[in-house]
Symmetry: C2
Subunit: 276 residues, 2 copies
């Protein structure tokens, strides 16, 4: 699996072990992207979110055409799979103070496509809750301990005794925010709704495209809203739409609304063909 490392505009062997703020403070950003037929799926959207996050954290990014060139080259090599871009603030000598002049460390890495489940997804509720932090909400920063702790609550997905495929997380206030590694859409009387991510959570790239494609509303979502929904799916930019079949004792079977959502996504990108 290929990994390419950079310090500003310069290719390097690896992370500067002396003082990378990504390691000590999670002072960085990442994007996990689907590679399909040698190209990044929705690069422009990923890059826009990355730039937005870098602005929020005031991390200086190298020239976009240089990163885009390196990303495209690795994507051609990968063919079909996953490419992750990470940027961290690099070296900083004075504690939390973020030197603006230090060159950003970034790396590209290749990963395998996750296995496709031959059935609708089974969800659980996570005990671990997401904090409310508007300054970090929406962007894909590298402070992910809440997701790690939530994901640690249940078993290895490759183990035979798995009891869930994904977990839903609530905020400290009790609103549903999404799954540990995917956004959530529910279908009710008002059409499709997805949790707002202005106080917590990640503004997923696939989520943004489906909000537009399905004319979905962004709103506060409660556990009762999910119980009442007639169709539910998760989505992310690597896996596309993941239909949900069960959450606790509540079950859902295939619905026309879900078929429509998959048609919309299939029309948006050939990486996510409609499956009957």
């Amino acid at each position: 699996m290929s990994v390419r490392c950079y310090h500003g505009d310069r290719r390097v062997d690896g992370l500067d072990r002396h003082a990378d703020r990504g390691l000590v403070y999670g002072d960085g950003l990442f994007e996990t992207m689907r590679v399909h037929a040698g190209c990044i799926t929705w690069w422009d959207h990923h890059w826009a979110r990355f730039v937005r996050g870098a602005g929020r954290l005031r991390i200086a990014l190298p020239a976009s055409n240089f990163i885009a060139h390196e990303v495209a080259e690795l994507a051609r090599e990968i063919g079909d799979g996953v490419l992750r871009l990470i940027a961290s603030r690099g070296q900083g000598a004075r504690g939390y103070f973020p030197s603006i002049d230090s060159a950003t460390y970034w790396q590209l890495s290749q990963h395998r496509l996750p296995a496709v489940l031959p059935r609708a997804w089974v969800l659980r509720w996570c005990d671990t809750r997401c904090a409310i932090q508007p300054l970090l909400a929406g962007i894909k920063h590298c402070n992910r301990l809440e997701q790690v702790l939530a994901r640690a609550e249940w078993h290895d997905p490759d183990a035979p005794d798995t009891d869930a495929d994904e977990g839903l997380m609530l905020t400290i206030d009790g609103d549903v925010i999404g799954a540990t590694a995917a956004n959530l859409f529910i279908y009710g009387d008002d059409g499709w709704v997805t949790p707002a991510v202005d106080r917590s959570g990640v503004a997923g790239v696939c989520r943004a495209l489906l909000i537009h494609g399905l004319a979905a509303k962004q709103a506060r979502v409660t556990p009762a809203d999910i119980e009442a929904a007639s169709a539910v799916f998760l989505c992310n930019a690597v896996r596309g739409i993941l239909p949900v079949g069960r959450l606790g004792t509540r079950t859902w079977s295939s619905r026309p609304a879900l078929d429509q959502a998959r048609r919309v996504l299939a029309a948006l990108h050939p990486a996510f063909p409609e499956i009957s």
Copy 2:
């Protein structure tokens, strides 16, 4: 400046660039320790907090005697300065799921002692607030973007135009939690009080020793409590007690209570001699 890197019980050249969870998720812990006369100040307390944090995050630590041996060896080399210990979960292939069998990456690094200010500290209020997250409160984990953003609000401490030496942070709920890189103690009618850190913040090693030594209470602290206090100091394990002289327009001059606190700390460790 020396850096030593380890993967489990094995010395290595540096971080595994392929997939260190410390870099991508901030999935780790750290301790920043004062080295005095070739020894770690309060090693037992630092190690206890580290073990507590590793338990909370379920990060497997190598044998404590091995780490203690390596730490002691580097401390002898440093003489007087700062030693930082970082541990991160190391490689993990499946997203947020934390493989329990992967060897932990850890590293020791040498840093210079920060400059001693020849005056009482000037504080400011930070706009960046700390989220409420009881699962992460108290431990010194590597998700520190809130502190980075708060510290970025004002200038470089080495620059001539600095307008503050440290910043105080509030929680989302408006309680005072401490400074970006130090705990807070205030003296009022009931004696010394320090903000509780069960919902946010870090349970500092120097803080714990001073709670005991000063019979200080842990409580919710409001900005009004600070205004009303007759003496205020910050503390951490590297710098010891830092008397506060000003916060906004509120000023404090030296008080007997502060002198007493410094006497208590000086008696606790020779790294922090009482200064007249």
